[in-house]
Amino acid sequence: MARTLNTMLKWRELSVIVVAVVLAVYFQIANANFLLSNASLQNLSQFIAPVALIACGEVVLMIGGEIDLSAGMVYALTPFLMYFLTRAGLPAPLAIVGALAGAAAVGAVNGMVTVLLQVPSFVTTLGMLFLLNGLTLTLSGGTPVGVDAGPTLAFIMGRGGYAEFVWAALIVLVMHFMLRNTRWGLHTIAAGANPTGASEAGIRTRELKMVNFVISGALAGLTGILEAFRISSIDPTAGGTHIMFLAVAAAVIGGTPLAGGSGTIAGAMIGAMVLGILNDGFTLIGINAFTFDLILGGAILVAMLCNILISRYRRRMAVS
C-alpha cells in the first residue's frame, strides 16, 4: 500500500492519468460513439494536438516562473509568414522554415525584453499578444487565405488525419525526455527552483531563460502551421488567447505549478487529453459551450488544489 502510494507520488502524472481514464470511461458509457468511432477519435486527437504542442513551451517557461501569453498570436501569425514567403517565391519547405524562424524570433524578443529589461513576462508577452494580433490582422487584411503546397508535404504537415497528433506526440516525447535527461532540462528546473542558487552554481540562467522563450515561440509557430495545413486555410483569427489559455490549463492540470520550480511535459500532454475528453465528451452528450467553460474552470481549480496538496504530501512523505 505504502509502496503503491509512493509510486503514485513519484509519478505525479499518474493522478491525471486516472482522471483522464475515468472521464473517458464515463463518456464511453454515456455515448457509445465516443472512443470507438474513428471520426470521433480523430476529432479528439485534433483537439489535443495543438493544445499539447503549445503546452510544451508553456511548461518549460512556467518552470522558470514565466509564461508566454503571446503563444496563441504567434500561432496565428506564423502561417501568414509562411504564406508571404511562398508568395515571394520560396519553395514551401523553405517558407515553413523561414516562418518558424520568425516565430522563434518573436520568442527571442519576448525573452530579451523579459530577461534584459527585467520586465515580468506576464507584461512582456501581454504586450506582444496585442502587437502580434494587430500585425496579423493588418498583414492579412482580416481575410483568410489558402495554403499552397504539394500534397505530400501538406499531408505530413497536418492534412493527414492524425498527422498533427503524430507531430505532437513526437515532440512531447522528445521534450519530456530532454527536460528529464539533459543538462538543459536539469538547469531549467534548477534555475526555476532557485534562480540565485542556480547562478551561484555557475548556471547561465539568463541565457537559459531566453532560449526557453525561443522554444515556446517556435512551438507555437509550428502549431499554427500544422493547423493551417490541417484545415487548408490560414485564418487571421485562428488560435488567439483561447488556445493559449487551454495550453496553460493543460500544463496546470498536468501538474506544473504556476509558481514554477518544477513541471512535467508528459503531464501537460495528459492535461490536454483531459481537456479534449471533456470538450468532445460534452459535445457528444449535447452540453452547450457555456456549460463546458463552467466545467473546465472547475476542473482547473480542482487540479491546482490537488497539485498543491499532493506536493505538500510528497514533502512530508519524503522526510519520514
Binding site: N181, A190, A193, T196, E200, I203, R314, A318
Partner: protein, 280 residues
C-alpha cells in the same frame, strides 16, 4: 590586554613579516585579496578589504549583518567582479571571469543560501552544473551521478537516507552537508563557507563542524568560513578576521584572542562609528 583595532591589525601584519619573510608569504598564501572595493550603485559594500589565506588553515570571518562578508565571498568565487582591488591565487594576480573559472582554479563556495534546487534530487544537486554526461549529447548519466554521490557522501561521512530524495524535503543540516559535499567532490583547494551553521540545531551544527575539521585534517583544503558565533569560531578557526561596515577592523590568531576581547573591539568600533556620525 587591550589594543585599538587598527593597532591589532598592524601587529598581525608585522607578525607575518617577522615569521615568514616577504618571499615566504608569496609561497604560503594560497589566496590573497588586496584592497578590495565593491559598490552597488550608492552602496559601498566593501571598502578596501585585504585578506590572506594560508595553505591548510581555517580562516574565520566574523561580523554583523551587512558588514560585506557575503559580498566578499561572491567576489572570491567569481560570481561578481570587484569594483577595484586585486586577487592573487598561488601568488599570481588573477582576474576571476566567472564561477566556472574560479571553480577551475579550485575555489568552491557553499553560499549562505546553499544554492540548492529544492525540486531536484540529492545527487542532481551535488552534480549541479558539473553533471556527468554521456559523451556527445549533453544527456545526463544519472546512474553514474547516483553512484558517485553515494560514494562522495560516504567518503565525507554524511548520512542521507536516499540520494533520490528531493532536497527540499531534507533538514537544514542535511542540506548544508549536501552543499559541502558538492564542493568537496569538486576537489576544492579553497573552500568558502558562508554561515555554514546558520539556522541549525546544536546537534546538526556539531556534525557540520566535525565534517569541516575532518576536511581540514585531510590537509588538501584551505577554508574560509563566515560565522556568527564567536566562541564556535575561536574553537574551529586558526585565524579570525572581524569585518564591520565593509572593512576589516581586526585580525588575529584564534589562540591569542578571546570572546570578551572581540566583544570589546566590536563595541568600541561601534561607538567610534556613532561618534563619527554625530560629528559629521
Amino acid at each position: 590586554m587591550t589594543h585599538t583595532p587598527i593597532a591589532g591589525l598592524r601587529a598581525t601584519q608585522m607578525t607575518y613579516a617577522a615569521l615568514d619573510g616577504a618571499e615566504q608569504i608569496a609561497v604560503t598564501d594560497l589566496l590573497r585579496a588586496e584592497d578590495i572595493v565593491k559598490t552597488f550603485g550608492p552602496v559601498t559594500a566593501l571598502n578596501g578589504v585585504s585578506l590572506r589565506l594560508r595553505r591548510g588553515e581555517i580562516l574565520g570571518i566574523l561580523g554583523d549583518n551587512g558588514a560585506g562578508k557575503s559580498t566578499l565571498m561572491k567576489i572570491l568565487t567569481g560570481y561578481q567582479p570587484q569594483t577595484s582591488g586585486k586577487l592573487y591565487i598561488d601568488g599570481a594576480e588573477t582576474v576571476l571571469r566567472s564561477v566556472d573559472h574560479a571553480r577551475a582554479l579550485g575555489i568552491e563556495c557553499v553560499y549562505q543560501d546553499l544554492a540548492l534546487a529544492n525540486s531536484l534530487s540529492v545527487y542532481h544537486n551535488i552534480f549541479l552544473n558539473r553533471e556527468i554526461l554521456y559523451p556527445g549529447f549533453h544527456i545526463l548519466n544519472n546512474r553514474a551521478m547516483r553512484r558517485e554521490a553515494i560514494r562522495c557522501l560516504e567518503e565525507i561521512g554524511v548520512y542521507i537516507p536516499s540520494v533520490d530524495a528531493e532536497v527540499g524535503a531534507l533538514s537544514g543540516g542535511q542540506r548544508q552537508a549536501i552543499a559541502i559535499a558538492r564542493a568537496v567532490h569538486a576537489r576544492a583547494r579553497i573552500l568558502l563557507l558562508d554561515e555554514p551553521l546558520a539556522a541549525m540545531g546544536a546537534r546538526e551544527a556539531a556534525l557540520i563542524i566535525d565534517l569541516i575539521l575532518r576536511l581540514k585534517a585531510e590537509g588538501n583544503m584551505s577554508i574560509i568560513m563566515i560565522m556568527h558565533n564567536y566562541a564556535q569560531t575561536l574553537d574551529i578557526a586558526d585565524r579570525i578576521m572581524l569585518m564591520q561596515r565593509g572593512q576589516v577592523t581586526y585580525e588575529s590568531d584564534a589562540r591569542s584572542t578571546s570572546v570578551p576581547e572581540l566583544m570589546t573591539i566590536v563595541r568600541r568600533e561601534y561607538q567610534h562609528f556613532q561618534l563619527h556620525k554625530e560629528s559629521a
